[in-house]
Amino acid sequence: MNKLSTIFKVAAFAAALFAAFNLSGATFEGQPDIFPDYKDVTIPPNIAPLNFRVNNAKDAVVTFETAGYSLKIKGRGENGADIRFRIRKWRRLLDAARGGEITVKVTAVADGRIGDFEPFSIKVSEEPIDKFLAYRLIDPGYETWNNMGIYQRNLENFRQTAVVTNSQTDKNCMNCHNFCNRSPQKMVMHMRAVHGCTLVLDNGKVEKLNTKTPQTISALVYPQWHPSGRFIAFSVNDTGQAFHSCDANRIEVYDMDSDVVVYDTETHEIISCPLLMDTLRCETFPTFSPDGTTLYFCSAQRLHIPEEFDDARYDIFSVSFDAESRTFGSRIDTVFCASELGHSASFPRISPDGRRLLFTFSDYGNFSIWHKAADLWMTDLQDGHTAALDAVNSDDVDSYHSWSGNSRWIVVSSRRGDGLYTRPYFAYIAEDGTPGKAFLLPQKDLDYYDSFLKSYNIPEFVTGRVKPSVRRALAREAIKSPGTDLTFLQR
């Protein structure tokens, strides 16, 4: 019986090989079902190999063809035929296809027959993506945590290393990292619970800050660097959370109150103005324009929370900021009024070329990473045109996002895979603003996302690797330093 089964297996694989040499007869309808879905995506010329699995096929031969180069890969597996690239061959393929496209033909043994699927293409852009992606790996949990950390992944291969983990800092909570102009030399992050503080990394030197002041409602939250590297915009939030009884959104995170402030790294002062600390409104998620002259933020009317949690509607506003005098403008401008559409906008992010505003558009509230309805929208800041990024969005949460340095790539945190664990998806944004189809961060192991029980939180592009010495310096400073107290200055 065993012999018979071996003969069948050999025969099946031989059949697959025949198929590889175009001896197959049948044609399967449509394109193959592959995971991750890399069909008809646009990818950067320096991305790691897009390993994928041909679902419902035990054996497959995949041909990648581009101008002047062709590559054939055989794959097999229990759960589908796994197609894995050797990194050198993948590089040659990408180099050949740069600025053009790769045609992918899949021949597989599926449903007991051999056949070809309809080919699909992968476009390879001219513009590269930033080399590293930094993110926090956390359990998509509610209140408690165990192991967590901020990690960095080299997008050109599969190597992931830790920036800092809470195994170094007595298992505390760490969050909200942000890099100044995507530089690995200049970073800010928070720690909560034990050793609670804000840590600022500046060229290898780490400073610990105690950021709660009597004039602000909380310690500093949600950082975004000023392009000069001197200032960091934060919000201060009185945040709560509750749990839906029977809603797909599971958790509701809301602000009872919030304000926007700017921290001056040179004077250790927190600066704000009445326009950013309106007692009748909740201001949050600040971000600077790439030239540093404008501060964008979200704001909503202050309501009775949590009773009116689903009535909160956030809009995007801006106010001018003069770095020289450390003063804000006297007028708030409306950038995008989501509330007029009965919706809410959060996480505004300006492309580094200053051309576009990317934000999350959701049904209500500001913590859209738990809202299934959350989608990415984009505003062209030159003509004011605003539209949903349909090619990028999914039926599930598409929320936290950031821009690559050349403004051609975005990364978005999405729960589209299994409805709970967020994964980073990348998408190309063409010169004219046309978005490409989003694709999942490639992994070496095709079962990785199935068994990995952490969410990728706050994915941020970084131009280089954060050095291992920073890891020790961050932990050492958090544990040993008493920290610097900040003072508040109302402008």
Binding site: T144, N146, S245, D247, G419, S451, F452
Partner: protein, 592 residues
Amino acid sequence: MKCSRTRLIVVVTAIVAAVAAFLMLALAVPFKLYSLEQNQLFLWDRHYILSTICSVGGISRLLSDFLLGFFAVKYAGAAISAVLLSLLVLFSGKAVGRCGAPDGCIPPLALVPAIAVLAVLLDPALHWDEVISLVAAFAAFAGYVSIENYKTRCAAGTLLFPLLWLATGAEGLLFTICVLLYEFLKGNFSWPTAIQPVVTAAVLFAGVRLSWVPDPRWDLGPLSHYEWHGELSLGQLMPWISLPMSMVLAALTTLLRRKGVKIAFATVLYGAVLLYGVFTAVAICRTDQSFEELDWHLKARDWDGVIASYEKYSRSPDIKVINDVFLNIALAEKGELCEKMFNYEQHGLSSLYFNYGRNVRAASLMNELYYSAGAVALSARMAFEANVNAYGHLNPRMTQRLVQTNIILGSYEVAEKYIKLLEKSIFYRKWATSQRQFLGDDERVAGDSEYGAKRLCTDGANYLGETEGFDNDLMEILRNNPSHTISADYLMAMYLLERDMDGLALALDEFYGTEALATLPKAVQEAVIITSEVKPGYMEQFEIDRRIFSRYLKLRREAGDLYSNDQQILYKLTANYMDTFWLYAMFADNDE
């Protein structure tokens, strides 16, 4: 001849130790051992295995996860522990023998490390891979001392250290300490001995620089396998210092010349080790395992077992309010909560419902309460909290609950994710596969007696759980699914425990006479009778058992005599009516 006799002594000591450890663990703390299985889940999964092995100490962790999976099987935990302890005895015996201990002194010296490990075996903060790592380090050291040639031995030690460190973690350092001590005791001070510490320091330095050692404060010493890092206690230090200590004592025996001194030394040694062993045994036998025992029965849905265990522990002078929650869940599941809850001592609302305070064990218990009450989303939340905080990879029971709650809530993709994981386990594979039938099949879920009933509880308007009190959530559940009468039981019990007669009255207004609360249970009738004292005619709206009312009249008469301040009457009253809400309402301290 001498060598084989020594070996025999060591083997016999190991066997005796194994039998004694097995009997003690199996008889005194079986539920503690069963509960260890819930702290991690071994998976036949490439990512899990590779990521575990590729970290320092990963092989120990993987082996520990694998072995702990068997702890759910009766007596397996005790047997595995006993075998590992006996291995420690064997390897320690070899080491102390090589250090020159006379045969008569080998048993106590070989037993010390095993007793030291036994003493911390049930420490809730200890990760079990410590035991595996110690066995590996002792085995490596026993192998090391077996090599006769000095230079070969030093070369082997130098090569063994990095391997041992990668496989077991900090215990590699313990190996180096033992090696250095051994060579010192043997008087070998030449250059080959110096290579070992140099290599050790270099490897550890590289480990720290490369961040393979996340936190050098803990990860290079005896606390490396502890979940919480407090101040190092003697108990935590003992497994590390016990073997070096035994080696020093063994070497000391070689210096004793006079027979009398030798006998005195051996007597003191036997006495001290015996005392240490007895002290450890007593500590283990006195370990409180009430939570684990109640939880074991709860996990098996053995409600009578929960009640019997509760009764067993209720005789203890230490009141554990958390045990009341087990009892009340069991009573509710039997449909007897508001009938019999005051047959037992209750301690306010926290006997049923409390803030879990980010405590893992409390989270797992609250998950059971919420699930039982039909608050499925809150149950999922608590299962998630408890799962996240499992020491190891996953908590199998909480993962099962996440499968169940996500199926009920219709989040099939999430449920499937957990099913896939459980299908890679040894003991939960079959159960996980059985749950696949529900994925995407709403009709099948609705038709299932358990899932269907729970899903009905969530079919209604969405609200934010617990923001207006859990009693409000229970009312919503009853509005959605009046046939889920256990929720009514919990609702009434909450008001009774809080002595909130207004809340009870509002709930009765809405639910009495409906499917949710067709008749009033005994304790609620008693509450209604009391309410009638301040709201005349109130009890006429309800069907009150005449016997209960007559009993109340009798109580009132007897209570009237209380004004005489006669202690005898008070005792009599307590004895006669201690199973009633009346007595609870009069005397119970809600703040407990």
